[in-house]
């Protein structure tokens, strides 16, 4: 009985240490955010997008893309330098049903050194807010974070790894991805 308890406690301790070390490793990765657990609100949401893709899953996804097809090749090129893609997006029937505190906990992480705010859009009439942050390590982008909120929707995107917005831009209009009109594009068009 005692031996069984010892084995059980050792197994529990080992599991806990594995989970803790994985969390520490994730937090230590530049560009990676510790996303809150949104299980409580996912039941209230009418539409939920919960995506967690680590390096191995991204590699697996890339292996199922056909390099011969231009669209697949473009996506493959984008995800080649990524270490993780995490998306949490919730749409509700009513206004402001999501916990602001959880979003603030993510914002606090973005105040850490390395993170820079690229865009901060706060539109008062329709209460739409979009903040785009980029994590720079030794002059290179190693992470992207987007926090977008509207009265009935909020989205957090965290892309870990070498992010190239221009490459993402190249995907516009393909594979169901809506056209992205970056300021550079507008400037080029006006010339």
């Amino acid at each position: 009985m005692n031996a069984s308890l010892k084995v059980l406690s050792a197994a529990v301790l080992t599991g806990w240490m594995a989970v803790a070390s994985a969390k520490i490793a994730a937090a230590a990765t530049p560009g990676a955010l510790q996303l809150p657990n949104f299980d409580g609100i996912s039941s209230k949401a009418v539409q939920t997008v919960d995506i967690s893709l680590d390096t191995s899953l991204l590699g697996m996804a890339a292996s199922f893309m056909d390099s011969g097809k231009p669209d697949d090749a473009a996506v493959k090129e984008i995800i080649a330098g990524l270490k993780g893609v995490y998306v949490r997006s919730y749409t509700f029937n009513g206004d402001f049903q999501y916990p602001e505190a959880d979003i603030d906990s993510v914002r606090r992480q973005l105040a850490a050194p390395g993170w820079q705010r690229l865009v901060a859009v706060h539109n008062s009439p329709d209460h739409s807010n979009v903040d785009i942050y980029i994590c720079m390590v030794q002059g290179r982008a190693s992470g992207l974070a987007i926090i977008a909120s509207q009265p009935r929707e909020f989205t957090i995107v965290n892309i870990v790894g070498s992010v190239d917005l221009q490459k993402l831009h190249q995907l516009q209009g393909k594979l169901g991805i809506p056209p992205i009109q970056l300021p550079d594009n507008k400037a080029a068009a006006s010339k």
Binding site: S63, V121, Q172, L182, P183
Partner: protein
Amino acid sequence: MSNELNDRLRAALRPVDPGESFTQGVLARIAGEPPGLRVSAHRAVRMLELRWLSGALLAVAAAGFLVAHQWQARQHAQQGQEARRQVMEALRVTSEKLDLAYQVVKDKEHSGA
């Protein structure tokens, strides 16, 4: 003539008791045989049975391996397709939000101008 021949044949072929010494001799010979010879026939049958059994087991194992391999390949393909779908969905959401930011900036520029 034929009856006489018949009688002589019957007399010659009548059953004769070999005697106690013959029976003892046969029993002594059986007892003197090495045990391996007596078991060998039984062992041969057992070996044949075992060979069939091991062949059947090997076939079952091979079939099991094949089924497991196919199941694993199918699982891998499903996971890969799901990962691919999630990548596309993530890129769609990301670009949607980037576009939303741009639209708001553009609207502000227009209203400011």
